[in-house]
């Protein structure tokens, strides 16, 4: 057996972790080999050194320090369990906050969207009340918006009215839709500048939905318009709006309801009067009257 092989096994040899055959072979070799004996001595001594290093003593505080750590860890663990067991402690405020946030967001979105809804609805809603009101003076934007508000407020009433009197409500709505109102609005604004917003407001509040809608068929529209304006002045009323359209002129006047019949009588002198719409509550006070002045020939056509 070679020395190298022997030396490789010396570690196992001193541990006794070797077969009896191998042990015998090594023992035999060691009797004659000085070098291997020295190696064996060194290996044995090395192992002895390691084994005899001796124990070191732990510091006195070690146990206490370990136990303090463990107890605080156990405390932490408990609090984690508590959190798991009482999820409401965390969840409830979170849920409340989310609910509030949701509510605020909803209101905000609703508010930011509202003007758009108003705009979308405005033309339809405006038309219905405008018919009886017939474009009351709208000199400034503020007034305009008030008017819209009033108009909006009136919508339910209007619809009620329509269900109650479908045969009366229906025609003027159709009529209004047929009118090119866009151009008319632009025109009258310049004409109405002289009028103060105060009476307009009063008129608005007074007039409500009661109104009179007349059509006068005449030979000369311009002359008839001048005559009608004079008549209105005679009757202590006033012309609030004048519209000139392609085939007709439209006057909006304010007049005491008691003098309606007088007006109609005077108009009959000027031309052929056709009462298209009359929704009156019979109460006294100023009412709005819309007078359409049309060419007589048109009527016949």
């Amino acid at each position: 057996m070679q020395c190298n092989n022997i030396q490789e096994k010396l570690s196992a040899y001193i541990d006794g972790d070797i077969s009896s055959e191998e042990r015998m072979l090594i023992d035999e070799h060691l009797k004659s080999c000085q070098q291997c004996n020295e190696t064996l001595a060194e290996v044995t001594k090395t192992t002895e050194y390691v084994r005899n290093l001796g124990d070191i003593e732990p510091p006195a505080w070690l146990t206490q320090k370990i136990m303090t750590k463990i107890r605080s860890e156990a405390g932490k663990e408990k609090s984690i369990w508590q959190k798991l067991f009482y999820p409401l402690h965390i969840k409830l405020p979170v849920e409340a906050a989310v609910a509030v946030l949701l509510a605020v967001t909803t209101i905000y979105i609703f508010k930011t969207m509202q003007p758009e809804i108003k705009l979308a609805k405005a033309p339809v809603e405006e038309m219905t009340p405008r018919m009886p009101l017939k474009e009351t003076k709208s000199t400034d934007k503020d007034l305009m918006s008030r008017k819209v508000d009033i108009a909006r407020g009136k919508v339910p009433q209007e619809s009620q009215h329509q269900t109650a009197y479908p045969e009366t409500a229906q025609p003027f709505v159709q009529k209004e839709k047929a009118m090119p109102s866009g151009g008319a609005v632009a025109k009258d604004e310049s004409q109405q500048k002289s009028l103060s917003p105060a009476p307009a407001l009063r008129a608005l509040s007074e007039m409500k939905k009661e109104s009179l809608y007349l059509t006068v068929h005449v030979q000369d529209i311009k002359k008839a318009r001048k005559d009608i304006v004079k008549v209105v002045i005679q009757l202590d009323g006033k012309t609030t709006k004048t519209e000139s359209l392609a085939d007709k002129d439209v006057l909006t006047i304010e007049l005491d309801s008691e003098r309606f019949d007088e007006l109609i009588e005077k108009l009959k002198i000027i031309g052929v009067v056709e009462e298209k719409e009359r929704t009156l509550d019979g109460r006294k006070g100023n009412r709005e009257i819309t007078i359409e002045i049309m060419k007589e020939s048109k009527q016949t056509q």
């Binding site: 060194e42 192992t47 390691v50 005899n52 070191i56």
Partner: protein, 201 residues
């Protein structure tokens, strides 16, 4: 050298109490095993303070995971595995920090008892022999420190703690043959290292 015979685990009662949440039972186990665990950690790391830290961490970890301990091995063996792993991790950390830059023959590693006894020893020639022995021990520790972890751990477990091969194999999760060959390598390297020390052989 401690004897580790394969007998029923004497700690099994305490362990089952610990599993039920008995902290006092765990304290008993700490008191019983801390010294051995500290010695293992100290021989692995070669630094007393670091070894104390590792032992603390090991016991805290053991307590946290006691319910996962299946009692296939003895509690002490299981605990030893934890100490071993934490020690190896600590050695790596210290190497990264450049704290643990191999063994220097000129600067003997100081142990706590060395620090306490060194000064009086210098004044008393009567204990010169003891001092020489102490110095050799320091150098042996220094040589051990210079070993790679994989060799050091088998040396610590086998030659210092006297664990049987099969237990070391289980602890380190390496075959028994590997344990033996590593032990041989460890002893050879250590022997080479000790040859440089005057009066070692």
């Amino acid at each position: 050298m401690k004897e580790n015979k394969y007998t029923a685990d004497e700690d099994s009662d305490s362990v089952s109490l610990c599993k039920k949440g008995d902290i006092d039972a765990f304290e008993f186990l700490v008191k019983k095993h801390q010294k051995r665990m500290l010695n293992i950690a100290f021989r692995m790391i070669g630094n007393y303070e670091e070894a104390c830290e590792v032992v603390q961490d090991a016991f805290v970890s053991a307590h946290k995971n006691i319910r996962k301990f299946e009692e296939k091995a003895r509690f002490s063996t299981w605990l030893c595995t934890i100490v071993m792993n934490l020690s190896k991790n600590r050695i790596k950390q210290l190497r990264v920090r450049g704290y643990h830059e191999g063994f220097s023959m000129d600067e003997p590693v100081l142990t706590e008892d060395d620090q306490m006894k060194r000064t009086p020893a210098l004044d008393e020639p009567s204990i010169l022999e003891r001092l020489e022995k102490k110095e050799i021990q320091q150098k042996v520790q220094g040589c051990i420190d210079s070993l790679e972890s994989e060799f050091k751990e088998v040396l610590v477990l086998r030659d210092m703690q006297g664990f049987p091969y099969d237990e070391i194999s289980g602890m380190l999760k390496i075959p028994e043959g590997t344990v033996k060959s590593r032990l041989f390598r460890a002893r050879s390297v250590l022997r080479e290292c000790l040859r440089k020390i005057k009066g070692a052989f």
